[in-house]
Symmetry: D2
Subunit: 155 residues, 4 copies
């Protein structure tokens, strides 16, 4: 891609993320921070609080999912068009505990028509060691008029 | 099953749910209520608050997932043994909004060895109409010593 | 639904299945038989041959999937409009062996806009005992002009 | 990893693949060729024949899945221990047609305890252009005594 287009795509992704975050009480309320944003990609962090712990003494899977889902949402909306989650799958590899800092790194796997696929890896750092907590795969769909730079998606 | 065994299984499921709920800050903190519990089944409710709304003005998918995941957890732990989520998939059918009362109804599809499969239907009632919001399928796995009534699972 | 409409829907499903089957070299070539068909539902059978066995001495997962996928295809096309598989997930519960007669029973879980969700249970009968072999969940999407009886789907 | 160990791992993967293939009537019968094998990875090819075409005039999803599933099987068995598919998900991106040469490239995403996760990309080359046909994610599980080089897996 021409350098000017790359810069424009990056600026659009950043502006879009700022707009989304400002309106997203859920993401802010859970203490998520946007670490990085790029066209098709997003990295978010969240510290596990006492309110996120379940009956097994570990982070409730719903909060791990929510972090991955937010990273996915920022990534699939980064191209400009409104995209929503259609289907998501998550595999839990290891438990996370209170105080752990979770990081969710979303990358774009595919875009076809109005559809997108994104992989999100959730890791936790504790005592200087980073472990994989969950692997997430999300399918997105552009809604409304698809006026993104990819042209008239219609699948 | 003999009636005495049925009653025992129901009592175990209820006692287990009460114990789980007492220790589960996440489920309580999100305002979830356990509506019904039975061996292999659980129904939970949650009202969507302003803190659960995302940038699209609709309930963040993470909270819908969290409700389904909690119903799944209560169902797969209802037999006595400690079970955790291994893999979950969710399909979003319609958005939910602030004030909607979500209901997640978990039922047991399969149990084989230490594994279980549970389907959860999430519905919302607004203005007297109930719509399906999401379909969730969870895979659980019994951890530790599997001393449940099904005998020595070891798959 | 009015009885006349029910009969019309059943006739459409049967005519559609006959048309699909006549054109479907894959389904016929694998020896699948359509046992039952109805609006949103289909049951197919297949005997596991020596050509379907893998290195573990059990039926290759691809053939179990293919049977479930065909049952799903007959079910999601039973309403008249052309529908294709978008996303499928399968969980294997038990192995199947040469000579086992597999049955895949597809039922409709949801239809929303152009999308559909179908659950398929694959069972095997051997020595008079029927076991569950796999649980399959398929997501379909209507392609082309959606002139089915559900009206103008456009999601 | 020490070079000697790398060579040993590669030799084990190749020997394992040769043994699996020799016993796998299904993979051979479908005309699959093993293009490449390495610890945790496998690439298989298959030409779509007239017997694989469904009622839509395109390759039956079951055969696309079967190719991906075989690549997944070769990859997850490459470490020496017997591993079987537990859960697989596939997303179809574009149709494939008779005469297309499909390639399935499996790579290892995670190994934890007896569990593994593998991503498989299925592409088709026709008229010199390679397109992605499907994205597959498989979960494997080691069965029997887990005497692989990773040590005593027991999750």
């Amino acid at each position: 891609m021409h350098e000017t287009l790359i810069i424009a795509a990056q600026q659009r992704a950043e502006a879009r993320a700022a707009r989304m975050l400002a309106a997203d009480a859920a993401t802010i309320g859970l203490g998520m921070r946007v670490q990085a944003i790029a066209p098709g990609a997003a990295t978010l962090c969240m510290t596990i609080t006492g309110a996120m712990v379940n009956g097994h003494g570990t982070c409730h899977g719903g909060f791990i999912f929510a972090l991955a889902d937010s990273a996915f949402a920022f990534a699939c909306n980064s191209h400009g068009a409104d995209a929503v989650a259609a289907h998501c799958a998550i595999t839990y590899l290891a438990p996370a505990r209170m105080g752990d800092v979770l990081e969710a790194r979303a990358t774009e796997l595919e875009r076809f028509g109005r559809n997108g696929m994104y992989d999100v890896v959730v890791t936790a750092e504790a005592q200087g060691v980073r472990r994989t907590i969950a692997q997430f795969r999300g399918h997105s769909r552009v809604i409304g008029a698809a006026q993104d730079e990819a042209g008239g998606a219609s699948a």
